[in-house]
């Protein structure tokens, strides 16, 4: 049976490779993805900073569409999209009045039947670490991959968290370890990169992202694994700005979890879109004998 897939806006732009590699990996795992037809933007942070109703209505339209399409789950790779979809789903599940109100705004009824998941907990729950291990053809030996979760995958914990301990999530670490890599315990797993201020207050983002890179370097990581286009955008695309502002060039490759998986599962390097990154991972991969 097909799983509903919501790519999100960034998958069509700055995080194209996330989308590409996700689809490849799913093919490898024998998972059929079905895109939610005619999906719209989840509204991200500007929506809830502007109107509560808007921030619920935009994601709810997607959920309603998916439901209409006959899907019973919806999976997304973007943490921000996941956060918005999940919050909207949980909010209307709690309050029938809100559901009625937002349904009126959306114009498509949502019946609360969907299971909303993020790629990461989709992997660990629906696929399972054991199955993942079986599928590994190229174990990522000697790779120290620091898993970065960011805010939106873990907060607010009562609504969205994908892990039992929102302060020290390990779900991605488990996946990374299943691939054969080492996932070090490090301090900035859930620290904020400032995503929502990416364009408006780039200075803040550069500072916060710099601290994350610093912590990862401190943990001796070879790369940082992300599961969100926004985290990626800040950590990868702004690395040169960070270097000039902080005076330290970390040159730390930032990889999407799907890309790392792709490598381990034997997807051709070129098909994963890793070369689209600002900070090249080629050296690191070559060093570890993965390329």
């Amino acid at each position: 049976m097909a799983y509903g897939y919501y790519p999100g806006c960034s998958a069509h732009g700055t995080a194209k490779e996330y989308d590409i590699s996700t689809r490849k990996v799913c093919v490898k795992l024998g998972i059929q993805l079905e895109d939610v037809a005619d999906w719209n933007c989840c509204g991200a942070s500007p929506a809830h900073a502007t109107s509560e109703e808007l921030s619920l209505a935009l994601p709810l339209r997607n959920l309603a569409l998916a439901e209409k399409q006959g899907l019973n789950s919806i999976m997304t790779t973007c943490s921000a999209c996941y956060n918005r979809l999940k919050v909207a789903h949980e909010t209307v599940k709690e309050s029938p009045e809100t559901l009625d109100r937002i349904n009126d705004i959306v114009g498509e009824p949502y019946n609360k039947t969907l299971k909303v998941t993020h790629f990461v907990n989709f992997l660990s729950e629906e696929v399972g670490l054991e199955k993942l291990k079986e599928k590994v053809v190229k174990p990522l030996k000697d790779v120290k991959a620091a898993c970065y979760y960011g805010c939106l995958l873990t907060r607010p914990p009562e609504l969205v968290t994908i892990d039992a301990d929102p302060e020290n999530p390990t779900i991605m670490d488990g996946i990374v370890e299943a691939l054969g890599a080492e996932a070090p315990d490090w301090s900035h797993k859930t620290e904020c990169c400032g995503a929502s201020l990416a364009l408006s207050r780039t200075d803040i983002v550069v500072r916060l992202s710099g601290e994350i890179l610093k912590a990862a370097r401190f943990a001796d990581a070879d790369c940082i694994i992300v599961a969100c286009p926004l985290c990626y955008a800040n950590l990868d695309m702004r690395q040169s700005q960070i270097a000039s502002r902080h005076g330290v060039d970390y040159s730390l490759p930032i990889l999407f979890i799907s890309e790392l998986m792709g490598i381990a599962l034997g997807v051709n390097y070129d098909e994963l879109g890793i070369d689209k990154h600002m900070v090249s991972a080629a050296n690191m991969l070559r060093e570890k004998g993965l390329m």
Partner: protein
Amino acid sequence: MVESSQNDNIEILTYSEVEEVGGYIGNFEVKIRKKARLVDLEKCTGCGTCYQKCPVKVPSEFDMEMGMRKAIYVPFPQAVPNVPVIDKEHCRMFTKGKCSICQKLCQADAIDYEQEDEIIEDKFGAIVVATGYDLFDASVYGEYGGGRFKDVISGLQLERLISPSGPTGGHIIRPSDGKEPKNVVFIQCVGSRDVEKGRPYCSNVCCMYTAKHAVLLKEHLPEVQTNIFYMDIRSPGKNYEQFVQRTMEQFGALYIRGRVSKIYQRGDKLIVKGADTLAACQVEVEADMVVLATGITARHDSKEVATKLGIPYDEFGFFTELHPKLAPIETVTSGVFLTGACQAPKDIPDTVASASGAASKVAALFSSDRMSMAPLVSTIDTSVCSMCKACMEVCPYGAIQEEEITLRDGTKKKQLTVLESVCHGCGACVSTCKSSCIMLRGMTDEQIFDELMAVAQ
């Protein structure tokens, strides 16, 4: 401790648990399970050979797992009674089926692996509940490492480090590398005043024990800097406030008003991210050790104890007194009294005071041979009873009994009767009797009906 062990009127049953409580004030019938110690209390001389030679090491509960004990052990050197106990869970005789080193070495022949639990039945006139408290388990604070950082310890763990009889012999060192800490952070209200963690109440003792820790730490390590994150300093006891002030003035503790949001490890240091709300800024401390002032919570098994004793408890599991102001020691079950932190977080002076209070309640109860009791019990109208005995079956006290009477014409008749002193007046029998032939004095059907009719119309 010693005083209570030497008093002739006191019988101490250690390693024992109350199994069942029956009866009522003045006449409780209690079953006590005396767990198998596997060491004969009478024979043991307390020489200590057994635990010196025992090959199994287990983290010591008494030392808050900061040190080790053996599978046969005395929790601490001054224990009363000073007789070891065998921990079946870890002892090789029980895990592997062989060893018996202690038995072989024991001169007094006190080791008995066959010993079994013993049930003691006894009668008591009053019960004092002094079951104490548990410390809040700080591992639910993921932001403080959730127990992952070795150098983030609880207050009681620090107590063991400071104690001369503790695992380090009173030498204060970091658990991770054994180095002396230079910069120590204390965080208060861990598991107290925290709605999110389900503990909205104040634990009463942490402000003061943290101040004490700061003082003791400074006394042991004159170079140390203590930083205390607090929300409010609660020091309403006698001489308490002066003590806190001395902690700041003479012992150089830095009090920072604000909570800590996150602790993370960087190298061998702990980075503590807190706030100083007075300065309206974030504070970052590079600490060697963090001490969490964990709060007091009800014992994990307090609800079972409460059920055994028939006393209520609050939403946190603390036992509820009869009235918060006017009867703070009594419970709804007459003859059962509360003392200490099983009732609410209490410090030592409060605990001692409440213990003496409970004792005086008991002494007052014992001052005469008989006591009067409310007569509001059930009575049976035997002339209309159909002897289905449903009332007997629902009575939790066995207060309804069958008796045989001789009628005037000499014939015998069986009928039911209520034992007045055994009946508690719950009325379960009354509502069970389909033909309304049982009446509860003071709360008859008619009275309740009249009350109802007084409003219905």
